[in-house]
Amino acid sequence: MSLLVRYAEQSRPPVHFFLDGQPQTALSGDTLLTAILTCANRLRQTEFTGENRAGFCLMGACQDCWIQVRRGTGPVERLRACSTLLEEGMSLSTSATVPPVMTGAAS
């Protein structure tokens, strides 16, 4: 189930990543937001009611797309999904659960 639909620029090189521990593929030049929402239907869950959110303004103003990210075995970082580009092998979480350390290739 995806939320965003790709209409153009679909012949870019693939980038592999992990979403809630599962291997996924997006395209080079995708933001975290695009990468997640072309293969899932939420970015995060709210702190108070747990309802699903998927960003809103896409220009760094609404702050509704901060997610937890881990690069390799590094620490968990909170990054704004609409203004951060996806990198190969990133481990991303769409819930309050921290993204797991994922070793090995994401493909």
Binding site: L3, L4, V5, R6, Y7, A8, E9, Q10, R12, P13, L27, S28, G29, D30, T31, T34, L37, T38, N41, R42, L43, T46, F48, T49, E51, N52, R53, A54, G55, F56, C57, L58, M59, G60, A61, C62, Q63, D64, W66, E77, R78, S83, L85
Partner: protein, 473 residues
């Protein structure tokens, strides 16, 4: 600040959209060495936003009729590369004591905070969509109109397969056109402004006939391609199973309840200036009846109430990208004039004349596409107003009844409205309308949300460690 630092003071421009880029180039052409600070990696602002490296559509595909203007803004800085310091991917999160607090990231991605003193400041901070919520607006699949456009422009993605654009303003029609051209089904364009307003606005809109013609072209194109266009509507509710978007419920101009099936919704009621930095710089604000918001006071050249601080572009009041270019150049010329440096008087006159024309046009746009009157009248108590802190209309009403705040910052202290991560960017306009309605006061009488640094969230690691001994009383 040390004495050594003051000798290297430079003019600083915040924002690298059409206003900021024109301001920077104008100062550089006059022999100054400005610093241009912007959150994006490449110049253009949101209107002429450049996609990340690897996306290859040409400007014609991204910006349509505006491709030449976009390309001109993207390439304007290069000839002055030795004179303009362009700080990319850098957030200005505070202004204090004549200096900006900046946050960027070092080579290893770690956040770093630095202080940038300025001798004069041009704020070209742009705008975001003006949002009036409706029940269901926080669901995945609902985006601002600007966000819907950025998905397409910067990522080649749409917010759905069958999309509704709702609210009011010229952006509704432009974005609907862009989505339909990209291959999406535009299920409807729902404009809350009655059509007759556009007729009343026509004389003023003729101040910029080219822009008017483009607007008419998009509307005609949509009609010809059987996209349903409705004006004078009331937006009621977004519904769908399990928190998804499946339909938008609305009432047509004749009062009939209707429903449009969709999987994505773009929402916006014109634009709203980003004014936090002007506020932190100490600029005096005035309520603007036409825009129904508080804006920094300025003269026609962009001078604020604070000497050496200028505002330009949509961040100083919404007037669009063409006006922003003229305003950025005009503010830079004002800065030069105020320093006693020579400027070309015929250029100043020409810009002043253009800016007057843009003011007439943008006034007419607010007449054509006004904020819906009485929006706050019949909101359900259960509707979420603040998406950060998940505060409902009912909670606000209860707070107004029990604690009788008459001013927005008091309501913020009592209810946390506007206190979340977005600092009221998304809910502030709506909260002001609700408070005004509940207290029976005009929106102009209930003040504006005061910004708090950092104006956007920072990683805790950004903040400099306290100097040893500083905390000792």
């Amino acid at each position: 600040m040390t004495a050594a630092a003051t000798t290297s003071l430079r003019p600083v421009i915040v924002g690298a959209g059409p206003a900021g880029v024109r301001a920077a180039v104008t100062l550089a052409a006059a022999g100054l060495n400005p610093v241009l600070v912007d959150e994006a990696a490449r110049p253009g602002g949101q209107i002429y936003r450049q996609p990340p490296a690897g996306l290859t559509r040409p400007p014609e595909a991204l910006y349509g009729f505006e491709a030449a203007k976009a390309r001109a803004i993207h390439t304007a800085l290069a000839p002055y590369a030795g004179q303009i310091d362009h700080y990319t991917e850098t957030l200005v999160w505070n202004i204090e004591h004549g200096a900006l607090d900046l946050m960027n990231r070092d080579a290893s991605g770690q956040p770093v905070s630095t202080v940038l003193p300025y001798d004069s400041l041009i704020l070209a901070t742009g705008a975001t969509d003006r949002i009036l919520p409706l029940p269901g607006w926080t669901r995945p699949g609902v985006y601002t109109l600007g966000g819907a456009q950025i998905a397409l422009k910067a990522q080649g993605c749409g917010i759905g397969k069958r999309v509704v654009f709702a609210g009011t303003g010229p952006l509704l029609y432009l974005i609907a056109y862009q989505y339909a051209k990209a291959g999406a089904t535009v299920a409807a364009v729902l404009d809350t402004a009655p059509f007759v307003n556009r007729i009343h606005a026509l004389p003023g809109l003729l101040a910029c006939p080219d822009t008017l013609l483009k607007g008419l072209y998009y509307t005609a194109w949509l009609s010809l391609h059987d996209v349903p266009l409705h004006s004078g509507v009331t937006l009621r509710e977004i519904s769908g199973p399990d928190g998804t978007v499946a339909a938008l419920h609305w009432r047509d101009a004749k009062g009939r309840d209707r429903e449009t099936a969709c999987d994505g919704i773009g929402l916006g009621y014109g634009l709203r200036s980003e004014t936090q930095l002007a506020d932190l710089a100490g600029c005096r604000f005035a309520f603007n009846d036409l825009h129904r918001v508080w804006l920094p006071e300025r003269d026609d050249a962009g001078r604020t109430s604070v000497a050496g601080v200028y505002v330009a572009g949509d961040g100083a009041g919404i007037a669009g990208a063409d006006a922003a270019e003229a305003a950025g150049e005009r503010a830079a010329l004002a800065l030069l004039q105020d320093r006693g440096l020579p400027v070309d008087p015929t250029r100043v006159t020409a810009l002043d004349r253009r800016l007057a024309r843009f003011r007439r046009f943008s006034s007419a746009l607010w007449t054509a596409f006004p904020v819906p009157a009485g929006w706050a009248h019949d909101l359900p108590d259960s509707m979420t107003l603040c998406r950060c802190e998940e505060i409902t209309v009912g909670t606000l009403r209860q707070t107004v009844r029990t604690d009788t705040p008459t001013e927005l910052n008091r309501l913020k202290a009592l209810s946390r409205i506007g206190m979340g991560r977005c600092q009221g960017r998304m809910c502030g306009v709506a909260a002001a309308e609700v408070l005004a309605h509940e207290t029976g006061r005009p929106v102009s009488a209930i003040a504006r949300l005061r910004p708090q640094p950092p104006i956007k969230p920072l990683p805790a690691a950004t903040l400099p460690a306290p100097v040893s001994g500083e905390d000792t009383p």
